[in-house]
């Protein structure tokens, strides 16, 4: 699926990166703890999170994550938006909570990475 599919499945809105909506997403990761996210290395991923600070964008930059979905209607601030634009990370916001948002994407075939070893 691509970024636009994720937006439509979650009824989310674009904060940054509508122009990158065709980019393919292969895997997903859902967490509010950034080191949990950093333990996971996969290409072209989307991050689902309820955390909303600059380190979320930094974490995605380090991991080459191409899209973040903020759950529970969280909205990134100006500094986060600026950094996301610079690093070409799409930012979406959905009103769904974490469990429901992850389940909706899973149902449509998106999967996580391998188990932590």
């Amino acid at each position: 699926m691509n970024i636009e599919d994720i937006r439509s499945i979650l009824g989310a809105k674009y904060i940054v990166g509508e122009e990158w909506k065709e980019r393919e997403v292969h895997t997903a990761c859902g967490s509010d703890m950034m080191s949990d996210v950093l333990a996971f290395m996969k290409d072209q991923s989307v991050l689902m999170t309820g955390l909303c600070n600059l380190q979320v964008i930094r974490t995605c930059e380090m991991m080459d994550i191409i899209c973040v979905v903020f759950v529970r209607g969280k909205l990134p601030d100006e500094a986060m938006i600026e950094m996301a634009k610079e690093k070409e990370i799409a930012l979406l916001s959905t009103g769904h909570r974490m469990f429901a948002a992850c389940g909706m994407l899973y149902e449509k075939g998106l999967r996580g990475g391998p188990d932590y070893k």
Binding site: M33, L38, A39, M41, V56, R58, T59, M62, D64
Partner: protein, 140 residues
């Protein structure tokens, strides 16, 4: 030593929003040098975890990076409180981070295990009351 490049970064104390700038800057430099993206990512993640630790557990510090055709070496040095039991600190899930740090998305106790996982060589030396030095190497 014509084929080695040295880089040095200061990590400011108590500035959570700026944490990660050094790792971001190194990542951009490595990308420009044309280093394999998988290797760039491993270096970036390992250094970022270390940089965050220097900010949340110590009082900032200094990071020295040496890039050679064979490997990328990162030395992260701080003058923070040090770590009394390194074996314990290395265990996945062990963290002394307080709630306010957890609310910022850190303190899962996964940073040091991640640093070890993403580097080919990992060494940590620490003295309580003096500071901590982490050395990591990632092979090209």
């Amino acid at each position: 030593m014509s084929n080695t490049i040295h880089m040095s970064y200061e990590v400011p104390a108590n500035d959570f929003t700026r944490a990660g700038e050094a790792s971001s800057s190194l990542k951009s430099s490595l990308k420009k040098m044309g280093v394999n993206p998988e290797i760039v990512r491993k270096v970036a993640i390992a250094m970022y975890e270390g940089e965050i630790n220097m900010v949340i557990h110590a009082t900032g510090g200094k990071i020295d990076v040496v890039i050679s055709p064979e490997e990328i070496e990162m030395v992260l040095k701080d003058q923070g409180p040090g770590i009394a039991d390194i074996e314990l600190a290395m265990q996945a899930g062990y963290s002394t981070a307080p709630d306010n740090i957890r609310n910022l998305g850190f303190g899962a106790g996964m940073g040091l295990p991640n640093m070890k996982k993403y580097s080919d060589e990992f060494n940590i030396e620490s003295t309580v009351g003096v500071g901590t030095t982490v050395t990591m190497k990632v092979k090209m």
